[in-house]
Amino acid sequence: MGRIKDKPLLLFSLVGLLSNFLLPLVEVKQNRISNGIRMSAFEFIGLSELIITIFWIILIFLSFYHHGKKSLFVFYIGAISMVFQILLIGIRGNEVVSGSLSMRVTFAASFYISMLMLYLILAESFDALKSRKPMGILGIALIALSLFFGFRTGLFSSFSIFKEFEVKKDQFFISLWTHSFLSFGSVLAGTLIAIPLGYLSYMRKKLENAVMVPLSILETIPSLSLFAILLVPLANLGKLSFFKSIGVSGIGWAPAFVALTLYTLLPIGRNTLVGFSSVDKNIIEAAKGMGMNKKEILFKIEFPLAFPLILTGIRIALVQTIGGAVLAGLVGGGGLGSFVFLGLAEASPDLILLGVIPIVAITLLMDGLLKAAYKMLRRNVE
């Protein structure tokens, strides 16, 4: 065994392995509010847990070696281990619950730590795949497919969040839709406002502070205060028939939408400014010297070159907004936040998870997609 070649991998797999031994994997509860029995991985899964332990040990060993094809191997071991763990818990969960409607299996510390560590391992080895990226994408698709398969065949029906899901199915999809509308809608609105603002402060250097300082101040206002500030103007706006007809009032979706939009202005506006400022002046000089007018320089040269950075701003805003939209639940704006706050009120962690897990999933998905888009755009430019 030589020197450690991959310190992050060693750290992640050690933490994952230790958590399996030292911390509870799941909690088996009689019903949604009772205290459950905490069980470690070996207690709950039994001997099959040995396979998962072997996966962890392989990963630990791999961190001592350096080889060209290693990352693909690490990626697939991680992916298989992740799917295998979830499916095993599902199978075992169904046995334990054995048809009882109220009994459920709630995830505990070791599960979350393992999943987080596997996610980090997957993310890191995926980045290192380089030309074998398609294999990685195939792996991600296989993970998604097997989880979907598990879901459709009822393998996860003993999991507490699926118990909650079964009860609140209709409300869940409405909330998911509202949440998506609030996050994507406000980022879209913010993009349409912030790009011109960023461009304006690039064109007129004197305006930079006049534009950027208010946006920074806006960013520092706590969201609850912002809701309160918006209450009166939006209530008044709601008296006009057009706004009334689309449901604008002091509470509901409108203050959430407006507040979320306002929060996206700084990341997108600032990145637009930085993006435009980073365009090499010599390139603009050459474009001008070749007879492009201002409009052609903007659309053919400046905007395409600034766009990757603007996209990064949009990504930051979107990630921040998908999480931030939880607060819509506080002002009657709906969204997945309503599960979170209902769960808090009912002291039901499972209900909170029903809100939080989709948020985490959507956030990771969007972050990954937009990062990939950024890389595609920068590929040719360096």
């Binding site: 010599n282 050459a286 010297g289 070749m290 007879g291 040269i301 040719n380």
Partner: protein, 309 residues
């Protein structure tokens, strides 16, 4: 072709260009030479309206540039700058096609023209069309810069220290190639540089500037042999006369007298011939069809009217 009469440019009190007049003939390669800050780049940029002049008149192809829209003017004048300014998000093909696209040429014509331009600057279309600027070396990028400036068939080319950022070996190569290109195309070129050797090698005439004023406009040999004042004499002291020899083809000075030793290359310049004479410590060196003598080289330099293309 291009006429500047009594042109001045001042930036808040400071006069960068002082009342200059210059007439550039069609097909002429004129060099603006001078130390940095002498106003040579400013003069160049006044012609394609990158800078607005303060007073005087400029005519391009007998038309006052005030009566031409600036974009139209620039589309019809090739422009090459030191930093090249290739568009990093576009392929080489798209870069070269920039002005033809702005001029809305049809697709087929643009495609043919792009390939033709790459061939002209000595790069193979198959290899380079789809490349991006970050994949090019400095010399390749500068060749693409020249190809881009020539793509829409402008009659006039403005070049602002185009080879200044390229390493010395590649610079000499680019200069030679560009001279060949100019022999084929006969563009009217205004070329800014502070490199004496480059100026003497490339220019049909050299316009020497100092502190915003034109001091002398003359052929390279006139400028080296009959400088108007001490400043110019100092400017060319040392290398001037030798650089001048670089303009002449050795084969134009062949005498039908046999000599022994290795033959001088057929495309050698008088400068290279002189260098060989010194290295071989012989007053006469052979070349296909005769030989070159030290005496002939000296005479050619002094007479100064042997400029043949």
């Amino acid at each position: 072709m291009i006429k500047l009469s009594n042109v001045s440019k001042s930036y808040d009190g400071h006069e960068a260009v002082k009342n200059i007049s210059l007439h550039v003939k069609k097909g002429e390669f004129i060099i603006l030479l001078g130390p940095s800050g002498c106003g040579k780049s400013t003069t160049l940029r006044l012609i394609n309206k990158m800078i607005e002049r303060s007073s005087g008149e400029i005519f391009v192809q007998d038309e006052n540039i005030d009566s031409i829209k600036e974009e139209t003017l620039r589309k019809n004048i090739g422009y090459v700058i030191q930093s090249i300014g290739l568009f990093p998000h576009m392929t080489v093909a798209m870069n070269i096609a920039t002005v033809p696209l702005l001029k809305k040429w049809d697709k087929k014509r643009i495609e043919e023209r792009t390939k033709e331009m790459l061939g002209l600057v000595g790069l193979s279309p198959e290899m380079y069309l789809k490349k991006y600027p970050h994949e090019l070396s400095g010399g390749e990028a500068q060749r693409i810069g020249v190809a881009r400036a020539l793509a829409s068939e402008p009659d006039i080319l403005l070049m602002d220290e185009p080879f200044g950022a390229v390493d010395p070996i590649n610079r000499v190569r680019l200069q030679k190639e560009f001279k060949e290109i100019q022999k084929k195309l006969h563009k009217t070129v205004i070329f800014v540089t502070h490199d004496v050797e480059e100026a003497l090698f490339l220019g049909d005439r050299i316009c020497i500037m100092r502190e915003g004023e034109i001091i002398q406009v003359d052929t390279p040999s006139e400028i080296v042999l009959n400088p108007k004042d001490e400043f110019i004499r100092d400017f060319f002291r040392g290398e001037g006369a030798l650089s001048l020899l670089g303009r002449y083809n050795a084969k134009d000075f062949i005498e039908e007298i046999p000599a022994t030793g290795e033959l001088l290359a057929e495309n050698a310049t008088l400068k290279e011939a002189l260098s060989e004479i010194i290295l071989r410590q012989s007053e006469r060196i052979p070349m296909k069809g005769g030989s070159i003598s030290l005496e002939a080289i000296m005479e050619a330099t002094w007479r100064g009217d042997h400029e043949k293309d």
